[in-house]
Symmetry: C2
Subunit: 407 residues, 2 copies
């Protein structure tokens, strides 16, 4: 017997308008991304096959809602009125993103064009403190950037928090975060009750998944159809998986736990309780210890400096970490059939030493590498990937369903 | 900048009817699966929110097209005419499935209710022969079951071939199959030119992906929202991944290469050229060799008999294979966040010995196992999984887009 399809719902006239609003908005967004041109109503009608009148009415609604704006008409060059180009507007809609990083908290507000309009960070957050205090500090930071954004006339329509570990987005809870020592924290309830955040729609999600969203949103990446595994993380290691231009979330949003993929079943113990996990080779703590830098309580910067100076132990540790990363990533490519591997998070600045061993392992261990190579590239997003992705998540929802924001 | 969404197209009136036809058909199919009841037009209208008249017109079109049928009305029990129940019809639409197995070829025709209406198999196909001969033998078999199905009045609307290795479905080619020794074979061209298959729409796909489709289609599985990794294969090892009730294909349909996930980077050599792949522990050849049964050219049956007899070497080989399978599957669950692991293919009859070690490794190595266990179950589909899935693939396309088959 065929399985039921509980998702399929009948299409109705209202759905039609909502879908068409999103279609027109997506065309405007795509043109901005693709080639910097601003499409006219006529160009959108031609590209979508919709009637001119329909497109015009939808564009008027989006203009009124402040989601798109009209460029001044170009100079007349012949007969007829020149068409006004359309682009996304950065004047009204904006979104808040917040990240609980390894040693810092960052908050930013991005407008609908993706531009960062406000940003603040705190460097010295003690992540080992009680969740209430750590989350409270992040909420304080958020309230600050919200005030900054509102002073610019922006309407912040929602916010998202990037968290490490197993995040239950539907319930708003952080279920398990070994590197924070947190277990089942009701993050959304704590944040929503914070003075200054009441009433703002909030979401929580995994930092690696959000970094992948940021990677997708970054200008210069070819939109649509893209697929990759993005390695992220600072202390731990996570991965954001993108297939066919869309984040792969898994059944509960707990996909991408690359840091706990086994590299060698008899390998060194990992903080999670198992042996031979990737984090036990390439996580920050293991890497610094193998590099002989643990005693100095140094960070990734110290490791990079030592590698640049050609020190033997750090170079050997990076070689081994790159091999382990390559083994785990080869498994991911074999299972997921993504096009490429992207080194982000703490791996990005270490890519000069990691990428070689990663490429070697991929070439040996990915079945399809016999036909088609697996490109390894360095993330285009900086260390702010997760916080940028958090805001992008909220903005993407606006683009997917703009009807709620227009009359 | 937000990425473009090339998939989004404007909705039109014709789309509306096509979607609504599919919605009604899905309701009929779901009810058949869920509880054996046959919904009336009124029940479908109530469940979907569509108008009674709209539903009636759509049902009439589906009845005329032979996709659904009306049950005789139940006896009158009160005032008013009792409603006729609707169910999928097995009288018209059917689909062909063919599988190139390890040592045999199977072909079957299933009707729209999923019932097998014709089946044939050849046991002694030499898979190491030239592709033309092996594919020709499978085409002969297909022509036979097609004739059988057509004699029953069935309209076979298409067929699908289940192949091992990296299959390029869009191009109809088998790109790489280490266990067959084939490389870049234009399967679709060879099959389409075979006498008796001309004009029949054909597709090719990976056997593990199709086995997952069969697992989804099997009665008794709860429909919708299900997610699992299904281990398949006879000689080699593949996996079909299902997330949220839908097969995960990957960028080229090359996902699920579980057999080449690394278990131990320094492990034994694999046929693919790498070391320590899962197949080097749990593939049929490795398993039989470690069990001391390779010399007898025995199959999985011999291994099962030896294990039942309590022979030490076979039991140790199965224990080690189960451990290796568990390590690779733990990586898959960490990366994909599926609900469950399903042992199918050659692993199904060996599950009494494999499932224990698999469970132990999953419990140790899956991060989310600290919160939520990973159930291991044995596939409900038999050794015909891939061929059943091949036919189901074609039938699912009819259910997804029935408009082409109705006036």
């Amino acid at each position: 017997m065929p399985p039921a399809d509980p998702v399929r719902e009948p299409a109705r006239q209202r759905d039609l308008r909502e879908r068409n609003l999103a279609t027109v908005l997506a065309r405007v967004a795509a043109s901005s991304t693709d080639d910097g041109t601003a499409p006219s109503r006529a160009a959108i009608a031609a590209a979508t096959g919709m009637a001119r009148g329909t497109v015009s009415a939808l564009v008027d609604a989006l203009l009124l809602g402040g989601l798109v704006e009209e460029l001044p008409p170009p100079p007349r060059t012949g007969a007829g009125r020149p068409a006004n180009g359309l682009r996304l507007s950065g004047r009204r809609v904006a979104a808040l993103g917040v990240e609980l990083g390894a040693s810092h908290v960052v908050a930013c507000v991005r407008d609908l064009t993706g531009a960062v309009r406000a940003r603040a960070s705190v460097d010295s957050v003690d992540r080992t403190g009680p969740p209430e205090r750590v989350l409270g500090a992040s909420a304080e930071l958020a309230v600050g950037v919200l005030a900054d954004a509102r002073a610019q006339g922006l309407d912040v329509v929602g916010g998202a928090w990037a968290l490490p570990g197993l995040v239950d987005s539907a319930a708003g809870r952080l279920r398990l975060a070994p590197n924070l020592g947190w277990r089942d924290v009701d993050v959304l309830a704590l944040l929503s009750a914070h003075p200054g955040l009441e009433g703002l729609p909030l979401a929580v999600d995994n930092e690696a998944a959000l970094a992948a969203v940021a990677e997708l949103w970054h200008p210069g990446d070819s939109p649509g159809g893209e697929s990759f595994v993005l390695v992220t993380g600072e202390v731990g290691i996570g991965a954001g998986v993108v297939l066919d231009g869309r984040p792969l979330r898994g059944e509960r949003g707990w996909s991408g736990e690359l840091g706990h993929v086994t590299v060698d079943p008899a390998g060194p113990p990992c903080g999670c309780g198992a042996r031979g996990c990737l984090e036990a080779y390439a996580g920050q703590e293991a890497l610094l210890r193998r590099a002989g830098l643990a005693a100095e309580r140094a960070g990734a910067d110290a490791l990079r400096r030592a590698a640049l100076a050609g020190e033997a132990l750090p170079l050997a540790a990076l070689e081994q970490a790159g091999r382990a990363l390559g083994v785990a990533l080869a498994g991911a490519v074999n299972l997921l059939d993504v096009d490429a591997v992207v080194l982000g998070g703490a791996c990005a600045p270490l890519a000069p030493w990691l990428a070689g061993p990663v490429r070697a392992e991929l070439a040996e261990r990915v079945l399809r590498a016999r036909l088609l190579g697996v490109p390894v590239r360095v993330s285009a997003t900086g260390s702010d990937a997760a916080v940028m992705g958090a805001a992008a998540l909220v903005l993407q929802r606006v683009l997917d369903a703009p009807a709620a924001l227009v009359a």
